[in-house]
Amino acid sequence: MKLTVNGDTLSLDGNTIADLVTQMELAGRRLAVEVNREIIPKSQHADFALNEDDVVEIVHAIGGG
């Protein structure tokens, strides 16, 4: 399915947040995920089903002051 992830279009082979995170090679990393501007807790990533055209944001911690 087609998603918008961090502003870019992405085609997902799968249907959960966990599938997306794995496809992006981010599995095991400390992340936070929003779907359509709603935060989806880590505990739900394995089961949360994404839908066509969902807008997903995936963030992590980087250096900052």
């Binding site: 936070a32 935060i39 995936i58 992590h60 911690a61 980087i62 250096g63 900052g64 002051g65």
Partner: protein, 259 residues
Amino acid sequence: MSDLLTIAGKTYSSRLLIGTGKYKDFDETRESIETSGAEIVTVAIRRTNIGQNADEPNLLDFVSPDKYTILPNTAGCFSAEDAVRCCKLARELLDGHDLVKLEVLGDQKTLYPNITHTLRAARELIDDGFKVMVYTNDDPIVAKELEDMGCVAVMPLGSLIGSGLGILNPHNIKLIMEEANVPIIVDAGVGTASDAALAMEMGCDGVLLNSAVAHAQKPVLMASAMKKAIEAGREAFLAGRMPRKAYASASSPLDGLSR
């Protein structure tokens, strides 16, 4: 001597808070932070890159939340809405950690805080259970308002973020401290060790800095200098400086000289 900094009920022996931005690499980040003795370390929250290299290192592998109190900031947010959203993402990212540094910026040129948005975001975050350390200007009225609202620390700028101009209005910082019942932490503007020492000598509870260390020619050495400056300044404040006088006062007795 036990002289601890208490923020939101947690005590810290270091009064230096340090950022993780602008370092050459994560090894330099880690070494600088370790050397500084800081226990509270700020991070930014940003999008992961699509196509990111899977084995690309992660900041939190170098600056572990098990070792440091991670203070996510809202740097880069120019509206209350964006700042609140950023804090919520940070809380999810850090497993429910609710201590945040709120900064809502006014414009790119000055990175001066937008106070109307800062007040709005602070209210919303506090109502949502966050413990808010808030970046603000050096206006004593605004500082008091942020304290009254429930912010756990008020962090006035010494000068513009990243400017290294030091504390441009120490009189205002003193006015803020006179009325404060929460920690006052000078955030932004520190350029070198004497700036940090001055803040502490004046009686500030702590100093938050980033560029002064990260942009020094030798960041790790500057981190060491900052640690000492903070400690020296704090001790000088606790010791109580001598009064300033207009005329000389001899340190050696004037009587009894051989003639």
